[in-house]
């Protein structure tokens, strides 16, 4: 089933065009990987999906992005509700300078999702459990989140993102600042999360894309060169460019 449908998306930074005519369908409850060399626009595309480009003054987005058949670039779209449904995890772990508990309860608090302290405790616990962090931190929920290791911080950020039960999770190179062990843990987690969430992950590591994703899109110079099932992209790509990138001949 199609969860997100992008139609002819163009993105401009001032006068410079960063994305050209991107049309891409994202399958529900699957992991879609976006790969491509640096500066090819894959992160820009990811940020279109929860309108994070609004934060950048000079950035403008054209085209339609349908999520559950609703165009999020439409004026009637409520960005706060949208971002409640579309969570995001960033390249560098960015826990708030607050306690672990406050980090996870942040989203539910601003969206008014818990009526009582008890409910909030439950949300925090389930989110941390889903993020595979609960066992490690359950005794120090009231210590600062910035005191964790890099991998733990990133899982905390994932817990923060899933605390509001988003339908989609966007991940912008979530493992690029982590060591191999922490990376493996996150990848395992992604596999688990796709049961309940649709996941789109931007990655520089082709091995990672092959390991975690079911679908892959290959971006180059602001254009979507090819997309399809990960198997096909990695084993039998349609275009020479994709073939070259996959085999490491450029990029």
């Amino acid at each position: 089933m199609i969860k997100i449908k992008a139609k002819d998306v163009d993105v401009f930074y001032g006068k410079k065009q960063a994305l050209f005519n991107i049309s891409l369908d994202i399958e529900e409850n699957q992991v879609t990987a976006l790969i491509g060399p640096s500066g090819c626009g894959k992160s820009t595309f990811l940020r279109c999906l929860n309108r994070m480009n609004d934060v950048i003054d000079i950035c403008s987005v054209k085209g339609e992005i349908l999520i559950n058949d609703f165009n999020i670039n439409d004026k009637s779209c409520d960005v706060v509700r949208l971002r409640e449904k579309i969570g995001m995890v960033f390249q560098k772990p960015n826990p708030f300078p607050k306690t672990l508990y406050e980090n996870v309860s942040y989203g539910p608090t601003i969206h008014g999702m818990a009526q009582s302290k008890q409910e909030m405790d439950e949300i925090v616990e389930t989110s941390l459990k889903k993020a595979a962090l609960w066992e490690e931190v359950k005794d120090r929920l009231h210590e600062p989140g910035t005191g964790l290791s890099g991998g733990q911080q990133q899982r905390l950020c994932i817990a923060r993102a899933i605390s509001v039960r988003p339908e989609v999770i966007l991940m912008d190179e979530p493992c690029s600042a982590l060591d191999p062990i922490a990376t493996a843990q996150i990848e395992e987690l992604i596999d688990e999360l796709k049961k309940e969430h649709t996941i789109i992950i931007v990655t520089h590591s082709m091995a990672q894309a092959a390991r975690v994703s079911q679908n892959t899109g290959f971006f180059h110079l602001g254009q979507l060169i090819e997309h399809g099932s990960t198997d096909k992209i990695f084993k039998n790509p349609d275009t020479k460019k994709t073939q070259d990138y996959i085999t490491g001949r450029f990029g």
């Binding site: 934060v55 300078p97 942040y106 989203g107």
Partner: protein, 461 residues
């Protein structure tokens, strides 16, 4: 003469730099590897030229007058003069030698004056000779050392280290000196006025101390009820409080606006404009408060049936608050801007609005810096003088009514030290006691500020 010698030494320094570097190039041309870059050879030689000259100059400046005086006074040594009379004789002959003496000229003094002149010229020429020979000796020594290609980089670095150390030492010693001068005068003050009366007395009326005839002996009992500092401490904190009531909300809000809401263009113009406020001399604020705000408040109050003094704490405090706004807004703007963008992204990405993000994420993260800027503002408010002197009157009323006039520590120091003062008089020493208390208050504030900042930093990093 000294100036010519000094210029000459500076020129020598440049020349030795040039020769040192040239020597290095010569060594290099013989295919030897240098121990440092050529300019280090130059600096090394220049330092060896400057240091002996500097040492001899300073020693000369310290000892020359003493030695000359001893030599002159040795003529009178067994004629039974008292020390004071000898000093007077010396000063007289010095004045005569400069042609500034107007009194009766005795042969004795004339002889001394001539001797003084000849001693001075001997001293002067021997100084030139000694300084120059010392420079030549040390430069020759240093030149030999660099000719043998020995190390130059380390001594030059050590010298720079020493220069920088001296500079910071000078700053610290000045502070220590100021504190000590305050302490001794303050102790003298409290010998006459009991500490208890000063700290808990509620009447401040230093003009009363003027009435005393200086030939009379000091009678502490007549100063009871004169130097009670409670009204001026209260006034100081009261005016500072009014100022912070104006400055904190406006400064903080404009800081947040500049950092988070203003577009790049608005920020580009608004920030320098606000900072202009910080550049206005306080005396200008002072007459703004005294001539514009004060009368305006009085009229406004009268129209509402309130009794407002033309010189009110409200006028002084309000204008002082305006003066402090740029400190708080500019500093908190800097602190807020330096909160990493990734935290904002994290908050927006989960659906927080701008105001929620500011309130829950950015403000707590920036709090140590904001508290620091506020405490800096409080220090400014407590130390501010001119606005209070001009706009809030000089009478130390003990009042908590912002519409009446009141006075502050700094304003009272001004009142006490304007015009003629007698040293050793309790009235003058009262200024030192006030200065000391002001110093202690701001010191405590700074310590508190550091503590607060440190505490939050531990929590957030």
């Amino acid at each position: 003469m000294n100036l010519i010698l000094f210029t000459f030494i500076v020129l020598l320094g440049f020349t030795s730099y040039y020769f040192g570097r040239k020597k290095a190039y010569t060594i290099q041309s013989t295919k030897k590897r240098l121990t440092a870059l050529p300019q280090f050879y130059g600096y090394y030689l220049a330092i060896w030229c400057a240091i002996p000259a500097f040492i001899i100059f300073s020693l000369w400046a310290i000892f020359e007058p003493t030695i000359v005086k001893l030599l002159i006074l040795s003529d009178y040594s067994n004629q039974g003069y008292l020390d004071d009379e000898l000093n007077l004789l010396y000063e007289k002959s010095k004045a005569l030698s400069r042609g500034q003496f107007t009194g009766e000229i005795t042969p004795f003094i004339e002889a001394s004056a001539e001797k003084y002149l000849s001693l001075r010229s001997i001293a002067q020429s021997s100084k030139v000779v000694i300084v120059l020979s010392a420079i030549i000796a040390s430069v020759v020594y240093a030149y030999k050392r660099i000719s043998s290609n020995s190390r130059t980089r380390e001594p030059v670095e050590k010298f720079l280290n020493a220069v920088l150390f001296t500079a910071s030492l000078a700053a610290i010693l000045t502070t220590v000196g100021i504190v000590f001068s305050l302490i001794f005068q303050t102790i003298d003050f409290f010998k006459v006025i009991p500490l208890f009366d000063f700290v808990f007395g509620t009447h401040w009326y230093p003009a009363k101390a003027f009435v005393r005839d200086s030939s009379e002996a000091l009678d502490p009992t007549m100063y009871s009820d004169t130097f009670g500092a409670v009204p001026i401490f209260a006034g100081t904190f009261f005016i500072a409080f009014i100022a912070m009531c104006v400055a904190i909300p406006i400064g903080l809000m404009s800081g947040i606006y500049l950092a988070e809401y203003a577009s790049t263009k608005v920020r580009q113009y608004a920030k320098p404009l606000i900072e202009i406020l910080a550049g206005i001399p306080t005396v200008v604020y002072g007459f703004f408060a005294a001539l514009t705000v004060g009368p305006f408040l009085k009229e406004l109050g009268t129209s509402m049936g309130l009794e407002v003094s033309a010189e009110s704490a409200l006028a002084a405090g309000g204008v002082m608050g305006i003066m402090i706004i740029p400190f708080i807004s500019s500093l908190s703007d800097d602190v807020i801007t330096s909160v990493p963008q990734s935290l904002r992204d994290g908050s927006y990405a989960i659906g927080a609005t701008k105001s929620e993000t500011i309130k829950r994420v950015i403000f707590p993260a920036a709090l140590p810096g904001i508290v620091g800027s506020i405490l800096l503002g409080v220090s400014r408010a407590i130390g501010e003088t001119m606005i209070v002197v001009m706009a809030s009157g000089l009478a130390a009323n003990l009042t908590l009514n912002p519409l009446e006039s009141t006075s502050t520590i700094t304003a009272q120091i001004v009142v006490i030290l304007i015009g003629d003062q007698a040293f050793g008089d309790p009235k003058t020493q009262a200024a030192f006691a006030l200065g000391m208390s002001l110093f202690l208050v701001t010191l405590c504030l700074n310590i508190v500020a550091l503590r607060v900042v440190k505490k939050y930093r531990e929590k957030y990093e």
